[in-house]
């Protein structure tokens, strides 16, 4: 019926497709432009004439990155941070979500815990008290300052709680009869069923941690301690290329074919790569997880 209708009025269809293709182009252009610049000849890139394909294709800026130990140092710090937070936060989230998914009559303190989680989510500590706290704990400059404060994600816990609650209650009752305790129930029954939502929160954590830059900026003391995003922020964004040059930065050593612009673009591209690699999974599980997590009783 709809196809018949569509045949009758074809012009709006074409317009719709054109609009959508324009939207697609707008979404992709900044990323493609950066990739194109990173592979371009530096003088063409400096002139601002590179659009969606490289002009004077070369790999010089990537070769230059390979020589930058600081870049890889920062990359490695980010990897460590992502792995540590993901592993620890995953366990903490799952463990906390299970008891909170119980009815009040089963677990009487449930509401108090829930209240604490929701309150701290809505009324977080300010920037300065958080900074002084990390300082008091003597964590400034330590990798743990980027890990430990990020372990409890109230929103993620609530997502998993909502998912656990959407599972049929009979599941719990039948396994109780078989004599399974809370731990067996969580690990043997609930976790295998929760894989989609667990994949979602894992990806949430990975992307969030990979992309975080601000804690690195305020909690770390020197550039060699920076995670990648903070390093990029300092190198690419905060430093004015002209000032950098005037202060005797090592741009002169880079050589004539690599301008700051192409090198910066290449750094941005390398920083994006991990997100682009897991993007197919991100796409699949984010949408699914958001729908699953929003299931209410």
């Amino acid at each position: 019926m709809l196809t018949k209708y569509n045949k009758k009025v074809n012009i709006p269809n074409i317009i719709i497709y054109i609009i959508l293709l324009l939207i697609v182009f707008t979404s992709l252009f900044p990323v493609i432009n950066t990739i194109a610049i990173s592979f371009s000849n530096s003088s063409k890139a400096s002139a601002g004439v590179v659009t969606i394909y490289p002009i004077g294709f070369n790999l010089d800026s990537y070769k230059k990155i390979l020589q930058e130990t600081m870049f890889f140092n920062a990359f490695w710090i980010s990897v460590k941070r992502v792995v540590l937070v993901t592993a620890m936060s995953f366990i903490i989230t799952v463990l906390a979500a299970y008891p909170l998914s119980k009815e009040k009559k089963e677990f009487r303190s449930r509401d108090i815990y829930m209240w604490i989680l929701v309150f701290t989510m809505m009324f977080g500590p300010g920037l300065i008290p958080s900074f002084l706290n990390i300082k008091d704990l003597h964590l400034l400059g330590s990798l743990w300052a980027l890990v430990l404060p990020n372990l409890v994600g109230q929103f993620l816990i609530i997502l998993v709680v909502n998912f656990f609650r959407s599972l049929p209650k009979e599941l719990d009752d039948s396994s109780s009869i078989d004599g399974a305790g809370p731990w067996q129930k969580l690990f043997k029954i609930y976790l295998p069923l929760a894989i989609p939502i667990l994949a979602t929160i894992t990806l949430f954590i990975i992307v969030g941690q990979w992309n975080a830059f601000f804690d690195g900026l305020i909690y770390m003391n020197k550039t060699s301690q920076y995670p990648l995003q903070t390093y990029i922020q300092q190198m690419v964004i905060t430093i004015d290329p002209l000032k950098f040059l005037a202060q005797g930065g090592d741009i002169s050593k880079i050589g004539a074919t690599v301008s700051n612009r192409t090198l910066n673009a290449a750094k941005l591209v390398v920083t994006m790569v991990p997100v682009l690699v897991i993007y197919p999974y991100l796409q699949k599980y984010f949408v699914k997880g958001i729908m699953l997590g929003s299931v209410k009783e």
Binding site: L2, T3, Y5, V9, P12, N13, I16, Y17, L20, I23, V24, S27, P30, V31, N33, I37, V49, T51, I91, I92, L95, A96, Y98, K102, S109, Y113, I116, L117, V118, T120, M122, F123, G126, L127, I128, P129, F131, L132, N133, L148, P149, V152, G181, P182, W183, L186, N211, F213, F214, Q229, Q233, V236, I237, N264, T271, M272, V275, Q283, F286, K296
Partner: protein
């Protein structure tokens, strides 16, 4: 008795989350009392002397406080409006597409920017909007315009923030609308077809009423971000030239607190912001519950 035994296991499961929450969230939250003290660097927050409301009085003496407040609310509200309308318009257009593969392709592309950090995106956009960037180059070639310093213009800066954030998030924000659209029964469209209703009539009488509740929900919930103009974004984009139009509460707190070491005043300002933000959240949740039957858990 059985329940009590189980409760102990539940408490143990919640213990790791609570430990980290106490050390890294609740303790600094209590540390906000610094707003009522004068920091003694040796004795720390807890041993410092009380000064009553002195630090709050200092806030009113900030020369540009009204400007900062205005910037915050202006940028935040503009973002709220744009991020309600653009994703909706996009979802409605996409919903008209019958070819599934094309729909998927568009979705896959437009979700991407959501997962990229502001550090990367600011790096990309600062290059694109630079004086010698590709936008100025193209408009110069086609329209013969003089290069514009977009990121140094107080006229352009707030809109650039609204635009880039909407660009980043619109695809992802459309997910909720798209889900609501799929819940509308196809029978309604068929009935409308038989009655001779055209596409426009369908939109007006079936689609819009079908997702009205979703729109209301998102609109009420967005109230809670009236003071959040986008700290990570603006921190990566702004510079002293655009403080007049781009300096917001969060960036000001950061500069005063951690760069000028005015810990007490920055804490006080942060506390005021958190408190007002908390009230806004409560109101938004209440309204969302009333008008759209929403609850967080």
């Amino acid at each position: 008795m059985h329940n009590k035994l189980k409760s102990i296991h539940y408490h143990i499961m919640l213990l790791p989350a609570m430990i980290f929450l106490v050390i890294f969230t609740i303790k600094p939250l209590l540390g906000s009392v610094l707003a009522f003290k004068k920091l003694n660097p040796v004795k720390g927050i807890w041993g410092s002397e009380w000064v009553g409301l002195y630090n709050f009085k200092v806030i009113f003496d900030i020369p540009n406080i009204d400007r900062i407040l205005y910037n915050t609310v202006f940028i935040a509200v503009m973002k709220i409006i744009a991020q309600l309308i653009i994703p909706l318009a996009f979802a409605l257009i996409l919903n008209e597409v019958r070819k599934l593969w094309f729909k998927r392709f568009v979705q896959t592309v437009v979700y991407l920017p959501y997962f990229l950090s502001w550090v990367i995106l600011a790096g990309i956009f600062r290059d694109i909007f630079a004086m010698d960037g590709v936008i100025n180059k193209i408009s110069g070639t086609i329209f013969g315009t003089e290069p514009v310093m977009f990121l140094g213009s107080n006229l352009v800066f707030p809109f650039l923030m609204v635009g880039t954030e909407t660009w980043k998030n619109f695809g992802f924000n459309a997910i909720i609308y798209l889900a609501a659209l799929t819940n509308i029964s196809p029978n309604l469209y068929e009935a409308c077809d038989i009655d001779g209703g055209n596409r426009w009539k369908q939109l007006l009488h079936i689609t819009m009423p079908g997702i009205k509740i979703t729109i209301v929900l998102l609109a009420t919930l967005s109230l809670q971000s009236v003071l959040n103009a986008g700290f990570e974004q603006i921190l990566n984009f702004y510079n002293p030239l655009v403080y007049e139009s781009g300096d917001i509460l969060d960036t000001y707190i950061y500069r005063m607190g951690l760069q000028n070491n005015q810990f007490e005043m920055a804490t006080a300002l942060g506390l005021v912001k958190s408190a007002v933000g908390f009230i806004l959240i409560l109101i938004a949740q209440k309204l969302a519950g009333k008008f759209a039957g929403y609850r967080i858990f």
